[in-house]
């Protein structure tokens, strides 16, 4: 089939084709950027927290009345929980990944100099005993804290032992040569020494993005308040969770147990707005593609109805059904072909606009290519049904109505 007649007939009524092309181009610009944003959110939500999400229970306890010795009670609680079948490890931590409650500070290469070159990183601080074991963090260099390094503290910025664990993201920033263990840093005007590096430990605040999201540091402070962490085997965790409130109240009823969630639920909660944005964007993409597909189907139907006589004549002159079908498909492909070229440009422009006004990165070609493929496929499909009806036009029509 030659393209010439198709182009000529399209050019005789350019407004219709131009409108389809404009619609497809705009659709492409929007869905390419929307898919790009959806993928970014999915990646964000898929980040490792560093902890064993499904095996970790997080809860908070609040006391009322002055009658309780909270430290002694915490010891009783921890011992009780540790003895429950299925529990692997239990402790208190000052913070949990994506748990929102955040204490952060800047750390420096050395103690004396607080200039920005010397203090390039802000880190979130986690305090607690047995955090590596309880959260299930992966130690990739050095060692965990020794019992001698551990000190008791409920205060948020207390250093009584210089040993710290840092996340790999922090290690990479301060020690690009890969040897962080044994090195010294400055924090709160005091020297700290890196004893080990953990693979990942996501910060408590969801707002942190990119590599900053992983800037964390662990202090060897044994706590008896904050977040109660219970690590249990995945078959036991539901039972432990169901009993937790009753268990804690039986040990001491002058308190309230709040927000008990698994680490996975804590993360899902932190990502609620991202999840909402994904759904909204998906809805827009779905509706947009449907509107465009229906619009194309409607216009092709109209054009088929208008050209019944020509189609009948062509069929009478020997054109096969296949030829009619491919005429409409090719016509659509040509219009959409022009549209995706224009649309790719528009997608870039829209991305540039979003980059300038919002904190969005530059769009990758893949997303545009993916959207082009999606739109070409959808518009060919939308053409297929009315074009099939055109192919079934009887050659006799040509003789009947003229």
């Amino acid at each position: 089939m030659s393209i010439g007649p198709i182009i000529r007939s399209t050019l005789r009524n350019p407004a219709g084709a131009a409108l389809i092309a404009l619609q497809v181009a705009l659709t492409l610009a929007i869905i390419a950027n929307a898919i790009f944003m959806i993928d970014a959110r999915i990646n964000k939500m898929g980040r490792e927290t560093g902890a064993v999400n499904e095996e970790l229970l997080v809860a908070q306890i609040f006391y009322f009345g002055d009658s309780t010795d909270k430290k002694a009670q915490a010891d009783i609680d921890l011992r009780f929980l540790a003895d429950k079948p299925g529990v692997k490890s239990v402790t208190y931590s000052s913070a949990v990944p994506l748990g929102n409650s955040n204490n952060s500070t800047t750390i420096c290469y050395s103690v004396d100099d607080e200039s920005e070159e010397n203090c390039p990183g802000g880190v979130s601080i986690f305090q607690g005993d047995k955090l590596v074991e309880t959260m299930g963090l992966t130690l990739i260099q050095g060692r965990d804290f020794t019992p001698e390094e551990m000190f008791d503290s409920e205060s948020l910025n207390d250093i009584q032992s210089s040993a710290v664990l840092i996340s790999k993201a922090v290690a990479d920033l301060f020690f690009p040569d890969g040897n962080a263990v044994g090195k010294s840093l400055g924090m709160w005007g005091r020297p700290i020494t890196v004893v080990g590096v953990v693979e990942t430990l996501l910060r408590p605040n969801n707002g942190a993005t990119g590599e900053f999201a992983g800037f964390s540091l662990i202090l060897p402070a044994k706590r008896t308040s904050g977040f109660l962490l219970i690590r249990a085997s995945s078959d036991a965790i539901d039972g432990i969770r169901a009993d937790l409130e009753v268990d804690m109240m039986r040990l001491n009823d002058k308190r309230v147990l709040l927000n008990h969630r698994t680490m996975a639920e804590t993360a899902a909660r932190a990502y609620r707005n991202d999840q909402a944005m994904i759904y909204l964007l998906l809805t827009v993409v779905g509706l947009l593609v449907s509107v465009t597909a229906l619009g194309i189907a409607g216009l092709v139907s109209f054009s088929v109805a208008n050209r019944k006589k020509q189609i009948g004549t062509r069929r009478a002159l020997g054109a096969l059904k296949r030829d009619i079908l491919s005429y409409f498909l090719l016509e659509n492909a040509l219009v959409v072909g022009v549209a995706v070229v224009v649309g790719s440009g528009l997608a870039f422009l829209l991305n540039q606009f979003l980059m300038r006004n919002y904190q969005l990165p530059e769009i990758d070609m893949t997303y545009i290519a993916l959207s082009v493929a999606l739109l070409v496929a959808i518009s060919q499909l939308a053409t297929l049904i009315p074009a099939w009806r055109a192919a079934k036009v009887s050659p006799a029509i040509a003789t009947r109505t003229v």
Partner: protein, 441 residues
């Protein structure tokens, strides 16, 4: 004539059911999507302070630093919150403007009814007496505590209607007392306020701009030390403090409180600005900090809402995308209208030949498009009701409800955009040479 056009329009719509319903569907989707996102945006952009928006000011101080130029990433270099040292000084300063510091606490409250476990669900606000008049908190019974309590604190409290129900089971309980905050403290109720929960929670945006429940109780700020309760929310600082208890926080350079003042005239605003600058410089002289430019800042409620980015980036992006979506739907509609009108071309050819002028043909088609717009508007309205329901579920919020302005806007926007899309196709049709179509018959 108009009635006749409407009749013809309805007839034409019935005669081309597929194209007509595609057009209505496209308009409805565009309107539904954009109205959903716009009304959600509107709910976030709402300024709950109303007439007081320009008279209530959030006070900020550049009273920090060891030669630090800025505070965090705030472009104006001012911290959002204030130290207890500063707010305590400001509230006792010699001026007669209504003002109040503010921070949140989460006390454990015990009910006076039987068999009800103590609750942490009611949030407390630590404020001065002026807070109630400044923020138009209305009372069901009693009123604010006496002005003397702000200087010489007593265990008095204003509770919300909901908390009143929870503690006492409702009724006028002014003068009665209940126990909270570590059990040993008994507080006397001096006022019972109507439930108060402005959205966005402009008085304190540090814990998120929207909340399901408003504050359950208001406590005298002057009780801060006696109450010994850590604040809820954000706390940050530039100078390390060895914090082992709440008393250390009160003395520290940590910022964790908010400060509001009511200034009615431009003169008052100017006077207070001068006072703040002077205050910051005095504090610098006392050696608390070394700031290159110790100063104060005042922001109206509207400025405060924008400064705290109540409307998130996501909301703005979605409004933009939904408007682009509407644009695509309209382009789609233009194409479909062209097809629809071209089909009716010979009919208008006959009308032209019988003496109708171009303008009349044009008007007739626009009336038909307007009808499609009305249909699309109503359908779009239904879609935006469904859309807002979805958004409320997604963002777990009560805001963004259907209201009259949404109804009017949806239908108005729909008719307007339908007419806009109709102009080009109608123009094409009425400019066609009638003889061509007469011959084709």
């Amino acid at each position: 004539m108009f009635n006749y056009y409407i009749k013809m329009g309805l007839k034409n719509i019935r005669q081309t059911p597929v194209l007509s319903s595609l057009i209505v569907f496209a308009i409805a989707l565009g309107i539904g999507t954009s109205m959903t996102m716009i009304s959600y945006y509107q709910a976030m952009a709402y300024n709950p302070a109303g007439a007081k928006s320009d008279q209530l000011f959030s006070v900020q101080l550049a009273a920090y630093g060891d030669d630090m130029e800025t505070w965090g990433d705030m472009p104006d270099g001012l911290p959002r919150q204030m130290t207890n040292i500063d707010s305590s000084n400001l509230r006792l300063a010699a001026n007669s403007f209504p003002q109040s510091p503010l921070y949140r606490v989460a006390p454990v409250i015990e009910s006076r009814r039987k068999d009800i476990a103590p609750s942490l669900d009611f949030e407390g606000l630590m404020v001065d007496r002026d807070f109630f008049s400044m923020f138009d908190v209305e009372f069901e019974y009693g009123g604010a505590w006496d002005a003397s309590i702000d200087l010489d604190p007593a265990k008095q409290v204003v509770i919300s209607s909901s908390l009143n129900d929870w503690i006492f089971g409702g009724g006028n309980n002014v003068g009665k007392s209940f126990v909270m905050a570590d059990g040993v403290k008994e507080f006397t109720v001096v006022g019972i306020s109507k439930d108060w929960n402005p959205q966005p929670v402009y008085y304190d945006l540090t814990g998120g701009a929207f909340s399901q429940e408003g504050p359950g109780l208001f406590l005298p700020f002057a009780l801060a030390k006696d109450l010994d309760m850590f604040p809820q929310g954000n706390m940050s600082g530039w100078r390390n403090a060895n914090v082992r208890g709440f008393a250390d926080v009160l003395k520290s350079e940590y910022v964790w409180q908010l400060y509001w003042i009511e200034l009615k005239t431009a003169d008052e605003v100017a006077a207070y600005k001068d006072f703040l600058a002077q205050y910051a410089q005095e504090q610098q002289k006392l050696g608390r900090f070394a700031n290159p430019n110790p100063r104060g800042g005042l922001k109206t409620v509207q400025q405060w809402l924008e400064y705290n980015e109540v409307i998130s980036e996501d909301n703005r992006v979605m409004v933009g995308l939904s408007l682009l979506f509407l644009l695509v739907c309209l382009v789609n509609t233009v194409g479909l209208l062209m097809a629809k009108f071209l089909r009716k071309m010979n009919e208008s050819g006959v009308r032209r030949a019988l003496g109708a002028n171009k303008g009349q043909i044009f008007n007739q088609y626009l009336v038909e498009v307007g009808l499609l717009g009305v249909l699309g508007g109503f359908m779009g309205l239904l879609l935006s009701i469904a859309g807002l329901w979805g958004v409320r579920i997604l963002y777990r919020t009560d805001i963004a409800q259907l209201d009259l302005s949404l109804v009017l806007a949806a239908i108005g926007l729909s008719i307007f955009s339908a007419l806009l899309t109709g102009i080009f196709p109608a123009y094409r049709v009425c400019n066609a040479n009638p003889s061509v179509f007469l011959k084709a018959q």
